[in-house]
Every structure is written in C-alpha cells, then in structure tokens.
Amino acid sequence: MLKLILAIITGLVGAALLHLVIILALPYFSDRDAYTKVVAQGEAYRFHVIGNRPDNKGLVKDDPFLDVAVCSFDLTERPVRLTTHNGVPFWSLATFDAASNETFSINDRTAAASGLDVIIANPIQATALRKTMPASLMQSILVETRQMQGYAVLRVMAPQASYKPAAAAFLKDATCTPVAWK
C-alpha cells in the first residue's frame, strides 16, 4: 500500500515537471504561433489581407469592424519601411518579433499627419541611417530592434459598411518594402 502511494506521488511530481516543461518549451516548438502563420501567408515584404473565415494557414481577423493585413520581414540584410496614406477613421500598426513580442505600435493620432511612415531597423542599420539619412526618409519614424525576423500587423477600422471600400483601398495601398541603408 505504501509503495502504491509512493508511486502515485512520484507520478504526480512527474506530471508537474512535464507540465512545466511543456509550458516553457511550447513557444519554441509551436507551429501554430502567429509568426509561423504570417510567414505562411505568402511572400515576405507584402501586406496580405486577412479574411473573415480562418484560411488554411489559420489566421482570422478577430474583430468584425477591423480589417487586418500582415507582412513578414527580415532585417538581416536591409531595414524595412512601412507606409500608408491617411483617410480612414482609424488605423493602427503593431510590429512583433518572431516570438510575437510587441516591438512597436502606433495609431493614426500618434503618427504624423501624412499617414504611416515607419522604418524598422536593427541597431547597426539604425546608426547608419541616423548618420546619413536620405532626404526621402527624413519624415520616417525610425524604430530600432535587435530581433531580426518579425511581422507587422496593420489594422483599419470600417465602422459602417460604407467605409469598407476605403478600408480595403487603405490596406491595398499599404507598403512594406526593404530600403537601402548604405
């Protein structure tokens, strides 16, 4: 009987250990995380619009009034520049690293009046850009991050059905392109 109780306790300790191992290791092994799904959307450096229903990659827009587009990028070679124009009631952008940790976020009121213009760069690129900023990039917000891989999520609000075309055009015109830095 004592051995049976000992066996059960040992089993429970093992269960607790396994629980901790799975919880701590899951972010490194998951193939269902947001970054994997965003990369699976298609080519990088392009905004992909997310649909109403889960696509075969598993991404779904999670608010009926917010249209969403995602873009994956890699800063190893070149920084990435994200731009849009204005003209919708609300838009917001968040960038994440490959572990889906937020690196930067902005909305239309915190951005300049002309719309979104953000450059995501790693520290070396950011230093080089600050030294010799090309005139065309003078207005851009420069965001420095140490995480090379990442993705951007652009949301736009269409509070009524009549805003849908404007929101769709907004996402269609959004760019996510690598820029020259040296």
Partner: protein
Amino acid sequence: MVPSSLRKDDTLSVFRLPLFLALILAIAFGGGIWSTLVALNATVGFGAIKLGAWQAFPQAQTVDADPYAKAHRANAGRLLLGGAEGLRFTADVDESGERLNGNCTYAIIGKTPVARLWTLFASDRNDQPPSGNADLPLALNSRIILRERDGSFVVQVSSEAQAGNWLAVQPARSFRLTLTLLDTPTAGSSGLIDLSMPRVQKIGCGHA
C-alpha cells in the same frame, strides 16, 4: 519444501515493479499533458485586469508576459493588439458571476473607459467572431450606437429583437462578449483599477 503460498507471492512480485513503473508513467504523462491542455484553454495567463465581469490582459503581447501567457499565445497564434492600438476586454459571465447564455437577455449599461473608438461583439466559445456584414446586428461600435444624454449607453444582448441598441446572439448557447477599446490610454497604464467598465446585467431568461 517451500510452501505453495510463498511461491505464488514470488511470481506476483515479479510483476509488481513494472506495474508501479507503468502507473508512475501513466500519471506523469497523462496528468502532465492533461493539466497543460486545461491550463492553455482555461486562461490567457496571469496578470489579468478584472473590472466587474470584464477582464483584459494588457501585457499578453509583450516580452514581459508570463510563461503561461507566452505558451497560450504561441499555441493560439492570434494577432494581438499592440499597446498603442487598443485593449481587448472579454466577459464570459454577467455581474453575478453566472455564465452568459443565449436564452437570457442582458443589458450592458454604462460607459467605457476613455477611448477614441470601441467595438463590441459576441462570439461563441471557440472565439469565432461574427462577420461584419450580416443582416442581424451581431456587432456594434461607438460610431453606430445610440447614447443617453450623458453619453452613457444601454445595449440589450438577446436572441430576440430589442428596441434601442440590440446585440443579437445565438439562442440556447453560451457566448463571450468582447469589448475592444481602440486608442485608449488604459492600455499602457496599470492604473486601470479606478476605471469603470459597463455593467453586464441579466434582465431575464426565456420568453417571460
């Protein structure tokens, strides 16, 4: 001459150690995997802000999120709202702590914390949001809602049509309310405790 009972005991003890090992492994693997699945489904992590029936996880998308939040978000794979974008509140229960059910009518009364815009919708337990262009009012937002003179609002949540602001839900199913505050200073601060969310009150159940 060995007594026969002792010999029987000997053959049993051969199986005893493997049996105990099997039991230990079954409890360890079964319990470990089961508890992990339960934990991942039950909660988005620690660090929730609770305001009445509503709860939000302002740290869930950051690097400071706890291991449970990180595991949950790696498993769920959803696109989370950044700090400057907004903050998402969900409610599974009403003010009295009872689970929200489509057979009952609820009233969401009051004001939201300071936010430029907000959206409200009901989803099923799988977190599948309604599509925006259905015939029924499955989702509301701050631009299309009718307000009282003082800026507060009353939203009737019911499977049957209501006067005023009506949020349609499926009958006879439990549901989850999601209220997303867009461009809100509450997302970045932990002083959220002083703020008030609208109350979720049960009006009645059935056709009474």
